[in-house]
Every structure is written in C-alpha cells, then in structure tokens.
C-alpha cells in the first residue's frame, strides 16, 4: 500500500516536472509575449498542482496537504494577475507602436 502510494506520488512529481519543462520550452521558443504567457501560465500552474499533490501524498498529513493547496491557490492567483498585467502591457505597447498585437515589446 505504502509502496503504491509512493509510486503514485513519484509519478505526480514527474508529471509536474514535465509540465514545468514544457512551460519553460514554450517560454524560450515561442515568438511573442502572448503565446509565451499562454505556455507559461497554463503549463506551470498544472505543474505546480501536480507537484503539490505529489508532495501532499508523500507527507501523508491533512494539515500539510491543506497548506500545499493554499500555496497552489495563492500561486494561481499571483500567476493570473501577473499574466493579465503583462498581457495588457504588451497589447498597449503594440498599439502604441502600431505593430501587430501581441508582439514582444523588446
């Protein structure tokens, strides 16, 4: 039972790491600010959820699991607002310079 739990937790951690990797590859490879944000926010939030779930399983305590859930919700919130601000800013910059919407500012 405990072996099965550990294996499942390890699998969740690996899945989380994979999502982070995918998000980072997207951040580096995608051409403009909006699609980079798309890659980063979606993949990283799922990755963090998966890693939090894996850690909670390993800890095996309700208190720790709830704390990890709170951490995930806070990170989700911060990611939402910062992604929103960056997207807004890059749209405005694009409007100012008259270029295509979503072009990276630098």
């Amino acid at each position: 039972m405990s072996l099965l739990l550990d294996a499942f937790a390890a699998l969740l951690l690996l899945i989380g790491a994979f999502f982070y990797l995918a998000g980072t590859v997207g951040l580096i490879r995608f051409p403009d600010a909006l699609s980079r944000l798309h890659a980063l926010t979606k993949a990283d939030n799922i990755g963090l959820l998966s890693i939090c779930a894996g850690s909670a399983l390993m800890a095996g305590e309700l208190r720790v699991a709830l704390l990890l859930l709170l951490i995930w919700l806070m990170a989700l919130f911060a990611a939402t607002v910062s992604a929103h601000l960056i997207a807004r800013r890059s749209l405005r910059d694009a409007e100012d310079s008259g270029a295509d919407a979503g072009k990276s500012p630098s």
Binding site: F77, T80, V81, R88, S106
Partner: protein
C-alpha cells in the same frame, strides 16, 4: 553530486548572463533569477532560513529596488554609458583570474582544514534549549550575538537616513510608475494584504522553533508595502509623519531598551530575560526593517494614503 554541480554551474552561468554583455534590463532579470537559484542552493545545502531570506530579500526586495532605480534612471534620461569599457578589459581579466584563484585557494584550503570540532557552534547547540528557542539561528541572532543584530537594525535605519541625505531636499520624493488600471488590482490587494500580514506574523512566531524569524517576516511586509506602493494604494509623502518615524526607530529603540533594562535589574547588558523578550524585539525589528525597505523603495521620506 549531480545536483551540487547543476546548481553551482547554474549560479556561475546566471552570474555571467547578468554581468557580461546583453542589455542592462536583461542583466537585472538574470540577476533576479540568480537570486532564485541561490535560494535553491541554500535549501539544498541545508539552510531553509537562508533560502527564505535570499528569496525574499536577496532576489525579491533587491530586485525590486534595482528595477525601480532602472526605471527612474530611464525617466531622468541620463546619458547611459556604453558597457563594457573596452579600455579596461585586459587588465581586468588578469585581476579577475587572480581573484578567482585566490578565493578558490582560500575556500579549498578552508575545506581541507575542516576539523569538524566547531566548538562555538557545538556549545551554542548545547545551550540553546535553556533559552526556550528551537531555531539555532534565531538563538544566535537574538540571544547569543544580539549586539550584532542590534547594530544591524541600526545600520538599516542609517541606510534610510543616508538615502534621504543623498537625495536631498529638492527631490523629496522620487517618481513612481503609474499604477496599472485594471479591475484585478483591488481583489489582489484585498486578498494579499491580510494574508501576507498573517504569514509574516506566523513566520515571526514560528522562527523561534523552526526556520523563519524577524528578517524573513520583515521582507514579506516589505514586499506587501512594495505591492501597495506600485498599485497606488499607498503613496509617497513629502515628510514622515510621527507614525512613520515611530515605526522607523521602534526596532532599535525596543532592542536598546530591553538591553539596557537588564542593567537595571542587575543582569548583564543585552541579556535576554525570556522568550517574550525575543518575540518583543523581533516584532519591533520586523516593523522597522519592513517599513525602512518600503520607504527606500518608494524613495520618499514618508508614506501617505492613496496616490492619485
């Protein structure tokens, strides 16, 4: 071993990226990433206290301070020097290689000379339970070597005074970027402000037994202050009101009063009478350091209500 090499190499590469070549903006971003990787390095080396301090202060607050200075310099429209200076690079290379060799030699010699009988730390670990504290670092900071910590709080206060003196009377408050106009900011502030305060107080309380303490808590408060300033919820004031002044000096004052008060009851100077005194001093330090960092970020002598 693999993770050691990975983190150490990552630090060096990120420092390279932050310092050599590329635009300054890119360098600042790389420097913040460097701080985050250094956070991981502290955690991996076994020091969660340093990891927290590095993440909050080393990467977070320092990064915010450098970013806002960068923004202000762009606004002043000062002449940007071209980096790097080619005239000095050859001599610099020699000096840098020599310095690298020197630090490496000192470090490796120190490691090979490690005898493992760190007497001071061992004695400290043995005496720690008598103080009622569980976190050796808080023990050193507040009980065993608290003269250092008292002076540190005084240095942070001195940095504020010196920064005010450097900026002079004409520029009582430095420019700040306009607050972004988005409906998301109000829920962000309303949610984060109370939560950050709770977490800061928790860190302060937990710091007596577990990793955490006044410095990490003050960095969290400073981060909240920076958020409030950037979102325009708090604005710069041309002069510090009495509340700001009290907040600035309360850390040094409470520390001194407790330390001197010990003389009155016949105990040695700066002795700590009990765990309540640790909490009292740490709470005062948290307020002072956090407020000072926010004021240094805002570049103003004081804070007022809503910024237009």
């Amino acid at each position: 071993m693999v993770i050691d090499v990975f983190l150490a190499l990552g630090l060096v590469v990120l420092a390279w990226q932050a310092l050599i070549g590329g635009s300054l903006f890119r360098g600042i971003v790389m420097f913040i990433v460097f701080g985050m990787v250094l956070t991981l390095a502290w955690a991996w080396l076994g020091s969660p206290d340093l990891a927290m301090a590095e993440a909050a202060i080393g990467a977070g607050v320092t990064g915010a301070l450098i970013m806002i200075a960068y923004w202000r310099l762009r606004r002043i429209n000062a002449v940007e020097p071209r980096d790097p200076s080619p005239a000095r690079s050859r001599l610099a290379l020699v000096i840098a290689v020599l310095a690298t060799g020197l630090v490496g030699a000192i470090g490796l010699a120190a490691v090979s000379a490690l005898t493992g009988d760190a007497t001071a730390a061992r004695v400290m670990n043995e005496t720690l339970p008598d103080t009622g504290l569980g976190n050796p670092i808080t023990g050193v900071l507040i009980v065993f070597r608290n003269l250092d910590t008292l002076l540190e709080v005084a240095v942070v206060l001195a940095a504020y005074i010196a920064a005010r003196a450097a900026l002079g009377r004409e520029s009582a408050d430095l420019p700040l970027p306009p607050a972004p106009d988005t409906p998301l900011l109000t829920p962000l502030v309303v949610t984060l402000a109370p939560l950050t305060m709770v977490v800061a107080i928790y860190l302060l309380k937990a710091g007596s037994q577990y990793p955490g303490g006044a410095f990490q808590a003050s960095a969290l408060l400073a981060a909240l202050g920076v958020l409030l300033v950037l979102t325009g919820r708090v604005g710069p004031a041309a002069a510090a009101n009495w509340l700001t002044r009290a907040g600035l000096v309360i850390g040094t004052l409470v520390f001194c009063l407790v330390g001197l008060g010990m003389l009155v009851i016949g105990a040695p100077l700066l002795a700590i009478p009990g765990i309540w005194a640790v909490y009292l001093i740490e709470a005062a330090m948290m307020i002072s350091i956090g407020l000072t960092l926010v004021l240094l970020f805002a570049g103003a002598p004081g804070l007022s209500g809503k910024r237009s």
